[in-house]
Symmetry: C2
Subunit: 298 residues, 2 copies
């Protein structure tokens, strides 16, 4: 059995980044990822990979990082712990499609440990369609439920609800999209070992590609017009609002002097704001109606 | 002498909104403001006025509000005070120009009081050019300095520095623009009465139009091309980042269930993000070089 050291976790994450980038390049068929290697001032670094102006992906990033240093005070205070060093590694993905019919997708899986022995896993996948299509949301959630159910039948309901609560744009009273799964601070308990959690986190990482392939299938070939693009830009504005106002990961990264360009790769290529925008057709109305918590997509 | 009651302050602010909107319509020459009247769930309300697709202003808002209710816990905690009611009134302006040569401008003046007798004024004006032109920044700061100097020679240096520190995009290590003046919690002291502060706040409100007319003069007629517009959209992205990540007023408004559409009227009509954007010409480089604190524009 593989030893679950931080090095092994980071290496697996790196390999996942490689394989996801390869598959996305094939799927896109036009653009290639460009890589920026960077170093963290305190220790470690990352590989930021970005793709743009593709046939499928207008702007996207697939980032790997493994950084270390003194644990930020915010974390120590929250946990009420004395000074300790930390190590954090993860893979983060956000893909903004060119075609407004295709959803935005986000995935993150991460591992965190401290020199005092504390460790946890976190992560999630969620989908943000510009136009919500029930069948596609259903199918997306089925991929996630199947991945969760292989490990624990309580995971999908719990982590689906967590995603609904997390990916919520409070000041708009709407969810970011149709949700997915979100989990954090998974550590050893009476019933779950580090092996169990690591197997689950790897499963989520491996679910990204099939879930995304399904999410874009057929939609990427739909015709779209200027009105669709305008709506996409309005919805991207909401994505910006969530990421900059509410997303704890973005906030934490910016607060702790993370690499700004890697953190903000999640932002869309173009976003619009219009004062008091009102939906102009039934599809837009239906989308707004479906941006709610606690919809059972299964 | 006029009685400085909250009603009188709010009425003066309303009149200022009227006169600024009238002058801006004349200055724009094409578009007119549309008004939304709204009510605050706890008490009071506002008049949001927005203008779009003008010959000068692509998207802008001039908002008045006067709201009341139980003081938000955040303020009471910060001041270590027991429960009290509050009253807050103000005028807020953000204007995004069509022409990339014309700067974005922002002004806010506000008055806050509580049923326990605590009160203060706050406000500021600042300029965010997409291309920084030294002579224009100099001239803008001269308007502000002249306004400040009429009241106290210590105001301009103090409030100019406050603006540099406040309008700072920490995660980009750059100022939002060329600054201006910013002040908060002006209340009575040994040397300053409520009359003194109110006279100063009115002066700032009345400085907005002449300072803006000067800031747009000549520039509004400059030719611009797609490269200028692209750069404007990148810079507008930074404006979004400041407002959503750092601006305390925006944060406070969203946290306390303020009217989202009125708060976010500050966001630009269109903004772009490009991974690791690098300046493509000397003008862009010069602008980035001048987005620093502590430049003496006088």
């Amino acid at each position: 059995m593989e030893d679950i050291t931080k090095e092994n976790i980071a290496n697996w994450f790196k390999d996942l980044q490689d394989s996801i980038c390869n598959t996305l390049e094939e799927l896109d068929g036009k653009s290639k990822f460009l890589e920026d290697k960077w170093e963290h001032p305190e220790g470690g670094g990352g590989r930021s990979r970005v793709i743009k102006n593709g046939s499928l992906i207008e702007k996207g990033g697939v980032n790997f990082s493994a950084v270390s240093g003194p644990t930020p005070d915010k974390i120590l205070q929250a946990l009420n712990l004395p000074q300790a060093d930390f190590f954090a590694t993860g893979v983060s993905i956000v893909l903004h499609p060119e075609n407004p019919w295709v959803p935005i997708i986000h995935m993150n899986i991460r591992y965190f440990e401290m020199s005092n022995g504390v460790w946890w896993f976190g992560g999630g996948i969620d989908l943000t369609p510009h136009y919500v299509i029930k069948e596609k949301a259903h199918s997306f959630h089925q991929y996630l439920k199947a991945a969760c159910d292989k490990h624990d039948s309580s995971f999908y309901p719990k982590f689906k609800k967590w995603a609904d609560d997390y990916f919520f744009v409070k000041h708009r009273n709407e969810t970011r999209g149709v949700g997915g799964v979100f989990f954090d601070r998974l550590t050893n308990t009476e019933h779950k070992s580090k092996e169990d959690h690591w197997a689950f986190v790897k499963e989520i990482g491996q679910t990204f590609i099939p879930a995304y392939e399904d999410a874009v299938a057929e939609l990427r070939n739909r015709e779209w017009n200027k009105a669709d693009k305008d709506w996409q830009k309005i919805r991207r504005g909401r994505y910006v609002e969530f990421n900059l106002v509410h997303d704890k990961g973005t906030k934490f990264g910016l607060d702790t002097n993370g690499r700004t360009e890697s953190i903000l790769m999640s932002l869309p290529p173009e976003a619009n704001w219009e004062y008091d925008y009102q939906p102009i057709n039934d599809l837009q109305k239906k989308t707004l109606y479906l941006l709610k918590k606690d919809i059972d997509w299964i």
